[in-house]
């Protein structure tokens, strides 16, 4: 299976609720990144967490990293309909090469 697997594959919530997505990976990493993709568009970088960090915040985003469990989670607080998108985690080892997971499709209902 691929490095960087997201869970769940799809998530449907109401506006105002929190959304949590998880990512597991298999090998050691330099950093882990989360990206967002609106339908039919390219990916946009959201947040990067280094292997020596445990938690990071950016606006309504909170990312955690547990290197002992080789897992990460992305929390979006107070979700909005505009947060509807696919979210991908990606692991970075070297040479700028990222390995992406299959993504979580988030739907936020108004």
């Amino acid at each position: 299976s691929q490095q960087g697997e997201e869970d769940p594959q799809a998530l449907s919530i109401q506006e105002g609720e929190n959304a949590t997505m998880n990512c597991s990976y298999k090998t050691s990493i330099n950093n882990l990144q989360w990206y967002r993709q609106n339908s039919g568009r390219g990916l946009v970088h959201l947040i990067l967490i280094r292997s020596n960090e445990r938690e990071k915040h950016s606006g309504r985003l909170r990312v955690t990293l547990d290197t002992s469990k080789k897992s990460s989670s992305l929390l979006i607080t107070a979700s909005r309909a505009a947060d509807t998108a696919s979210y991908f985690c990606a692991t970075f080892k070297s040479y700028g090469k990222l390995t992406f997971g299959q993504g979580t499709i988030l739907t936020v209902h108004p």
């Binding site: 950093n31 990144q33 990206y35 990606a90």
Partner: protein, 110 residues
């Protein structure tokens, strides 16, 4: 802001045609990447380049080649297009992390 431009948003080609997908970035990034994205499979790396005239195979290079004659331009070539190469192709560039993506080229091979 970094801009990564993919020359075509949509392409329709016939089986056996030689297909060129062009990508240009305006931030003097050393690294450039080609991914393909398919439902249920996420993003898979085809080729990447970390310098002019340098290229490295990614996870799925079969049936593809690349060219990087200038730092800002990275071309993906399908020597003889086949129907199983129908996909969304995403170009990205970076200087380390994170990656900056273009909006993608949706290629249909009939």
């Amino acid at each position: 802001d970094v801009k990564v431009t993919q020359s075509s948003r949509y392409l329709v080609k016939r089986t056996g045609e030689k297909v060129f997908l062009e990508c240009v970035q305006d931030m003097d990034h050393e690294n450039m990447f080609w991914y393909r994205q398919d439902p249920g499979l996420g993003l898979r790396l085809i080729y990447f380049s970390y310098d002019v005239k340098m290229k490295e195979k990614g996870d799925i290079p079969e049936g593809y080649s690349v060219s990087r004659e200038k730092k800002e331009r990275f071309s993906l070539i399908l020597e003889s297009a086949s129907t199983n190469q129908t996909s969304m192709y995403l170009c990205a560039s970076s200087f380390g992390s994170p990656l900056h993506f273009g909006n993608g080229t949706r290629l249909t091979v009939t």
